[in-house]
């Protein structure tokens, strides 16, 4: 039994769960809902097994002891853990708020990422750790950072839903344009990465250094100017379509058993959990580790700088909420900006900039 078997099982379970959640939204039958939840829990348990098995495999190969062998040292492993954190957050919300409505949105993302990791086959090769990563701080720093990222991701989803619910009546209003464009860009980037992956698979090369060298090569950064221009045109059309038909999302959310106020409250709760965890695990523990490994607790490395920017945005969110009493549309926009910054800290820095954290890229 190896971890990839369990990863495969969990991605199947998440995809089946997605189908059940969509059926549940359509028919509102209690039994379907229970099946959906059961599938999600099964997928999550299998995911957990896979994570710990991989941890063990990693420990066996690296021979560095359990504490230093957490499989969170490259982009793929971090994605697996990121999805795990999101699913944990989702199950907590389903349990606490007694609503299955979000499942139809969360499970497809989880299923897709897991399938992507599984197909790419990268989960099978285990890279040994370079010396700078051989520290007990790895565990605390990285897991807490990802828990915070996941909390921010959920706050992003609920903030977008809130904006969809409250601003869809006027297509020309600023907030409506804002959330549709942000959502469209997220979608477009995911689709472009998917196309990259398919194109890359067709060329049949090895998976090494796929992400960093291949990002958007099949679309925006294509060697052929025609394809690049077409990609930008498609991006424009896609953004336009999301803007034009964004109100559909409102109709979908109106079928949920959640109110706009609850969505806003959830956004706040996630940030209120994510922010202290991010501060402690991401910034403070990161600084202590950097002090031990590199001799500087803060060196304005791009990853550090972007973490600080993210931290500023969420600090701003908390302050305007508590001090200025901002609520609703304004504050939800800040939450969305916070996650754009988070995702750049997590992925953008590794993919586009270079620095001390660059080994996180592959």
């Amino acid at each position: 039994m190896d971890s990839s078997l369990f990863f495969g099982l969990s991605s199947i379970a998440y995809i089946l769960a997605m189908i059940s959640y969509i059926a549940f939204l359509a028919f509102r039958a209690g039994a379907v809902g229970i099946i959906a939840t059961t599938l999600t829990v099964a997928g999550f348990l299998s995911h957990t097994c896979a994570f710990f098995l991989r941890w063990k495999e990693f420990a066996d190969i690296g021979g560095m002891g359990i504490m230093r062998s957490i499989p969170l040292t490259n982009l793929y492993e971090s994605l697996i853990f990121f999805v795990w954190c999101i699913m944990l957050g989702y199950l907590l919300i389903e349990w606490k708020y007694k609503t299955r409505s979000f499942g139809a949105f969360i499970t497809p993302i989880a299923g897709m990422i897991m399938a992507f990791i599984d197909i790419s086959g990268i989960s099978k090769d285990i890279h040994p750790l370079i010396p700078a990563l051989q520290s007990n701080w790895l565990l605390a720093h990285v897991t807490m950072s990802f828990l915070a990222y996941a909390a921010f991701a959920i706050s992003f989803a609920t903030a977008i839903m809130y904006l969809a619910c409250t601003t869809s009546d006027n297509r020309k209003s600023g907030p409506y344009v804002f959330w549709t464009v942000v959502l469209a860009f997220f979608g477009a980037i995911l689709i472009a990465m998917g196309i990259d992956f398919v194109a890359f698979k067709l060329t049949g090369k090895g998976a090494e250094s796929f992400i960093k060298n291949y990002l958007f090569r099949a679309t925006f950064r294509s060697a052929s100017g025609g394809i690049a221009a077409l990609s930008y045109a498609m991006l424009f059309v896609f953004v336009f379509l999301v803007w034009r038909y964004g109100f559909v999302l409102k109709n979908v959310i109106s079928r949920f058993a959640v109110s706009a106020d609850q969505l806003e409250e959830l956004t706040y709760k996630c940030i209120a959990i994510g922010f202290p965890v991010f501060t402690l695990g991401g910034l403070v523990f990161g600084a202590i580790w950097a002090d031990q490994a590199w001799g500087r607790y803060w060196s304005w490395d791009p990853k550090e700088t972007w973490s600080l920017i993210t931290w500023f945005v969420y600090a701003f969110y908390l302050h305007v909420r508590h001090v200025r009493g901002w609520r609703g549309t304004q504050i939800s926009i800040v939450a969305v900006i916070g996650f754009v910054s988070t995702i750049f800290t997590y992925l953008g820095v590794n993919l586009l900039l270079s620095g001390l954290h660059s080994y996180g890229g592959m």
């Binding site: 370079i130 402690l280 607790y297 304005w300 700088t305 972007w306 500023f312 001090v323």
Partner: protein, 481 residues
């Protein structure tokens, strides 16, 4: 006279008000973030050609030199040390301090003042309220209330308000209201620690070849910084993961010398350091940060030889010198060396790296002046050690690798750590604790006791409301029991 005095205070006031404004905070946040983004795009180590390329990506190669010259002059290529960025950080600190001081007195009053008894009208205006009717006597009600409140962690006391309303009052987490200020204070402390580090510390590098020592480290632009003692690198070694060139660990063995004599650290003359495990002496810390290969004629090839008699013997020699395999007349001469040897597709040998990732020596074996055979002997490949007349283990090439040390003195780091601890406590107080107050007002009406459960919480109202609800249920249950 009075006018002048007024004007004077108004200038101070104006500065104070400017610093206390949230608008300034937003502007400073935005400026720090915005300039930082530019800073992360450019290479901060001062690599001009790299930065020109980056700039060209944004503005085209025609305008790149001009734009780069502007960015360079404005300090963006070493932005985080530029005067204006540091000024922004000072402004941020001043803004943070003034904003906190502005709001602190009000909060301090709340924190200093314990919970008071409320009149019935006042209790009725509390944000969370619930009514419970008790069928028993007042005397029996009293312990029931105290008990129920205690089970929720509220140690209640009985009190009387101005209008003689009898009530049980309790509160929790009053000091959690200070969490925000503790967090703000911790940021100021961290910044102060950073300033202390910048003023009284240094950050430098030192490359030490095996067997050499130095009394100085090198700051930016080859500035020599005296250490006050000498440090010597006894040995340096990299170990690799099996079958790959990924380093598993790299270690240096260092000795501290005072007046030419070794100093004992933890009872030993030499200290082994590696990444994540530095050496500290007299406030200066040496971190293992890099390594490199510096070939020279004085480097020593170290071999362990086993002859036909099976005895092991260690030898050390320079390039083009010879050793004798014990128990034989066979001599081995070091004729060639490669720090990283590999074989290409056509079977030709070549050196693939400028570091010692796969070191190999070419040894010519001769007997009585006649070359009999020759071999490449690879340090990482024991199967290459066997030769017809015995075994030649290539142990090390000593004196050809240097250890790259990061040398730091930072008296501010303890202050920064103190700030980090305070920040953790402050964040915990502000996010996971709340100031909750409960009043259980008791009134008698037609032989029955009516309770008004009133409360307020500084945070997490929903959870607090359900807590009050459970308290009410507990009271009703106590009545029925």
């Amino acid at each position: 006279m009075a006018d002048e005095k007024n004007r004077k205070t108004s200038v101070v006031d104006r500065i104070w008000n400017a610093l206390a404004s949230i608008k300034l905070a937003v502007v400073v946040f935005a400026l720090i973030s915005g300039t930082s983004i530019v800073g992360t795009l450019l290479d901060q180590s001062g690599d001009v050609s790299k930065n020109l390329k980056i700039v060209a990506k944004f503005v085209g190669s025609g305008a790149a030199p001009k734009v780069f010259a502007f960015l360079d002059a404005a300090g963006f290529t070493d932005m985080y040390h530029s005067w204006w960025f540091i000024a922004l950080l000072y402004l941020f600190a001043a803004n943070l301090i003034v904003c906190s001081l502005e709001r602190l007195p009000r909060i301090w009053n709340v924190v200093r003042e314990p919970i008071r008894a409320l009149t019935f009208e006042q209790a009725n205006t509390m944000p969370v309220r619930r009514e419970v009717v008790f069928s028993r006597k007042k005397d029996e009600a009293r312990p029931a209330v105290l008990d129920a409140m205690k089970s929720f962690g509220f140690h209640a006391v009985e009190a009387k308000a101005e209008d003689a309303t009898v009530q049980f009052i309790a509160e929790k987490g009053r000091y959690s209201r200070l969490g925000v200020y503790l967090t703000h204070l911790s940021i100021v402390i961290i910044l102060a620690g950073a300033i202390v580090g910048m003023k009284f510390g240094f950050n430098a590098n030192l490359n030490l070849l095996e067997g050499t020592s130095s009394a100085v480290a090198y700051g930016g632009a080859d500035k020599e910084i005296p250490l006050g003692f000498e440090i010597r690198c006894e040995d340096f070694n990299v170990s690799y993961y099996d079958g790959s060139d990924t380093p598993k660990s790299f270690k240096s063995w260092l000795t501290i010398l005072e007046n030419g004599k070794p100093v004992l650290i933890d009872g030993r003359e030499t200290t082994e350091i590696e990444v994540n495990r530095p050496l500290r002496y007299k406030g200066i810390t040496f971190y293992q940060s890099s390594y490199g290969f510096a070939p020279n004629r004085d480097a020593q090839f170290k071999f362990a030889l086993i002859g036909r008699d099976g005895k092991k013997q260690g030898v050390s020699l320079k390039f083009e010198e010879s050793f004798t395999i014990p128990g034989t007349d066979v001599k081995g001469k070091v004729a060639d060396f490669s720090p990283a040897i590999a074989v290409d597709e056509s079977g030709k040998l070549f050196t693939y790296a400028e570091i010692m990732s796969n070191p190999a020596v070419f040894v010519e074996f001769s007997e009585k002046g006649k070359v009999r055979y020759s071999r490449w002997i690879l340090l990482r490949h024991p199967e290459t050690w066997d030769v017809p007349d015995g075994k030649v283990e290539f142990v090390d090439l000593w004196g050809a690798q240097y250890t790259g040390l990061q040398v730091r003195k930072d008296p501010g780091v303890e202050i920064v750590y103190l700030g980090c601890i305070l920040m953790t406590i402050g964040l915990y107080m502000s996010f996971f604790m709340s100031h909750a107050r409960v009043w259980v007002v008791m009134r008698e009406e037609r032989g029955k006791v009516r309770f008004l459960l009133a409360g307020s919480s500084s945070k997490n109202r929903v959870a607090f409301e359900s807590g009050i609800e459970r308290l009410a249920q507990k009271l009703s249950a106590a009545d029925k029991a």
